[in-house]
């Protein structure tokens, strides 16, 4: 059973490195000043990070307090054992529920899981895969339909939320396969 996780990890790293090295190579061939271009783009990284700091602080403090009060453990006791064995702890479930609403807040929950359980924990990996495989459906729908004043959205939310649910279930399955 060790073959599949190893395969997944190797493939993951290869995909990542292919982007990391392949894109600058392609750029160089196309005559882009790759170094200057990189530095220009990297500046945005700070803006992104600064933008999420308030969300991280808000969520980490709130959930941290909730955890320290013993409330999280009480919630956890109510979740059936079979769900917990799949990594579906209250933190991970709240991440799944928050994801369609707010990207920054769900990233905050992921940060809290990383900070409290460790970045190599099963929950952190499951949470990371969940946030990588679903989107802020309700937010995007509000912004996009708002821009063209569409108020009767028909089945757009149904389809989007079905896709999100599929992504969350798929995340649980692939994590079980690759990290279990």
């Amino acid at each position: 059973m060790k073959g599949l996780p190893d395969f997944s990890a190797t493939l993951s790293n290869l995909i990542f490195l292919a982007f990391l090295v392949g894109i600058p190579c392609y750029g160089f061939v196309k005559g882009v000043k790759v170094y200057e271009s990189f530095v220009e783009g990297a500046k945005e990284g700070f803006e992104t990070a600064v933008r999420i700091i308030p969300y991280l602080v808000a969520i980490l403090v709130a959930i941290g307090m909730f955890r320290a009060s013993g409330a999280l453990a009480m919630l956890s006791d109510r979740i059936p054992e079979c769900m917990k064995s799949l990594g579906l702890t209250p933190e991970v479930l709240s991440l799944a529920l928050m994801r369609p609403l707010s990207g920054a807040a769900s990233l905050g929950i992921l940060g809290e899981i990383v900070a409290s359980h460790g970045a190599d924990s099963y929950q952190a990996r499951l949470g990371a895969v969940m946030s990588g495989s679903t989107e802020t459906t309700l937010y995007v729908a509000a912004v996009y339909f708002g821009a063209v004043s569409v108020s009767r959205v028909r089945y757009a939310l149904h389809a989007g939320l079905i896709a999100d649910a599929a992504g969350l279930i798929a995340a649980v399955i692939v994590c079980r396969l690759f990290f279990g």
């Binding site: 990542f16 500046k43 980490l60 013993g70 940060g111 990371a128 028909r154 089945y155 999100d164």
Partner: protein
């Protein structure tokens, strides 16, 4: 919604801490949480900057445009109410590729332009067309190849192999996109949603 959840967490924490006698732990957790948040953000910045730098090269080298022209022909299968050469197809393709590359800052304006282009084909303003619903579904099913934000958080927390989630996330996001497309197509055929389009003839060609 978020306001109530957040406030609820704070109030519930104190109330439960009073009942369980964990008040001191809660006080300690406040400063620890705030500090952990900033430390995470600090590590997050490095990976995020690296990734956005690489993505800028992808934009400057025309790689993004190249992918856009690659996926464009295939999009006719998904979006059936769009005449050949209509600008909506181009702006949607650009938005989808920007999302695939995780260029969120570039994707949003392109997406809004795509919605406006789609709306020019809308015979019943104020009601979403099938193509709008399909576009939204693809958009919200997350088609990002590298989930840079999640990787950056794992790395910042000291993960031994933060990029190990790339393939699992890709598999899960592919599943969600396929399910979303199928769901949108099936829902578009339902009587309940069909009769909401009153503007023009509900041409059978789009089903």
């Amino acid at each position: 919604m978020l306001n109530i959840i957040w406030l609820g967490l704070l109030v519930a924490s104190v109330a439960i801490a009073l009942a369980t006698g964990h008040l001191r732990d809660v006080v300690v957790s406040v400063t620890a949480g705030a500090e952990a948040a900033f430390k995470l953000a600090l590590g997050f910045t490095g990976i995020m900057a690296l990734w956005l730098g690489i993505m800028r090269i992808a934009q400057d080298s025309g790689l993004v445009d190249r992918f856009t022209s690659l996926i464009r022909p295939a999009m006719g299968i998904l979006f059936r109410g769009i005449p050949r050469g209509h600008p909506a197809m181009g702006s949607m393709a650009m938005n989808i590729v920007a999302n695939v590359f995780g260029l969120n800052n570039a994707a949003t304006p392109l997406g809004l332009k795509a919605m406006k282009d789609l709306d020019t084909l809308n015979r019943n303003k104020g009601t979403a067309t099938d193509d709008m619903c399909m576009f939204l579904t693809i958009n919200t099913s997350s088609i990002q190849i590298i989930p840079a934000g999640a990787i950056a958080l794992l790395a910042s927390g000291g993960a031994s192999d933060p990029t190990a989630i790339v393939f699992p996330a890709l598999a899960a996001t592919a599943a969600s996109t396929v399910v979303g497309i199928v769901a949108a197509r099936l829902l578009s055929k339902m009587k309940r949603f069909r009769k909401e389009i009153h503007g023009g003839p509900t041409d059978e060609g789009t089903t």
